[in-house]
Symmetry: C2
């Protein structure tokens, strides 16, 4: 077995080469457009149909994340978890809030695990594309979330903006299903 030295989740080699990755993105629609482009790339690469990214207050990308569950042998390697950890490690802090407002943009409403991760990250806002129901329609289990989770995030000072690019995000989930992608629920 692998020695007990570290866990490591690689980002796909195509990711840093995405065109315009670090271009400023003033609107949430601009940011979601990038995230959905990462979804399309990840599906094409044989990965899961989910992506996320952390942006700073100026709309500049801090770190992207894509679903790496299967290639990394890590059930926890959802796009949001990867993006949050990558952002922290790029900035050298566990707490994004200490470096100003940060926004987590994700291609689908976060599952129970990723939802729980949002307040710990220090992100000050959350932007989502596809809804739970859209991901469940494809066969993905979103887990057991607390009722009224949007309200609970708001109560923690985290703004939630839903349904940004929802149609395209849902189309990508359905494309994944049609092309025979693995549904890797636990």
């Amino acid at each position: 077995m692998k020695p007990l030295d570290a866990i490591s989740i690689s980002l796909p080699p195509w990711l840093p080469a995405v065109d315009g990755l670090f271009d400023p993105r003033p609107t949430v629609e601009d940011r979601m457009a990038l995230v959905l482009e990462l979804v399309a790339h990840n599906i094409e690469d044989g990965g899961g149909p989910f992506a996320a990214a952390v942006f700073d207050a100026d709309g500049r990308l801090v770190a992207p994340g894509v679903n790496r569950v299967v290639p990394a042998s890590a059930s926890i390697a959802h796009a949001e978890i990867v993006a949050i950890a990558a952002a922290g490690q790029r900035l050298g802090t566990w707490n994004l809030a200490g470096r100003g407002a940060h926004q987590l943009v994700t291609s689908a409403e976060p599952c129970a695990m990723c939802l729980g991760a949002v307040p710990w990250s220090g992100a000050t806002s959350l932007v989502t594309g596809a809804r739970d129901a859209d991901a469940r329609a494809v066969g993905f289990d979103e887990g057991d979330k607390p009722d009224g989770w949007e309200r609970l995030l708001a109560a923690r000072g985290i703004e939630v903006i839903r349904d940004v690019g929802r149609a395209r995000a849902t189309e990508l989930l359905q494309h994944y299903l049609r092309t025979g992608g693995e549904i890797y629920n636990g």
Copy 2:
């Protein structure tokens, strides 16, 4: 900034050298005793007061995890997340259930994020030490969990065994507080 190649969470160097780490541990009490020893080591090393471990059906350790939030600059590096990812990477699978029954033993009831991670891991049972209330009493935020989470895990076929070593687990949390450990909520 760090390049976009991977996220990495190192395990502390003292961890593989813990005495009797891979000894068979037939009972949940034996397994929790190891996990609480890892908590004590992690506090002494300046880390957070939380540890977890994945055991196979024979009570043999597959992978340990300790809280690495501060040293790894990763808010998601809770002990359970680290243990689940380390177990998957050691076995070369995202799904522990595919390799037989696996038990996640954790020094405190999982926070909202780690709770959400349990079903994705394929673990078939969860053993907890300190209660939510014990962690909250020290100042740790456990997040917004769904009501009746033990029942929800049971409904997914995941057995929950609580309060194993609770007194010692709580004592360690209080020791951390007394010695001035950082409370790193988001």
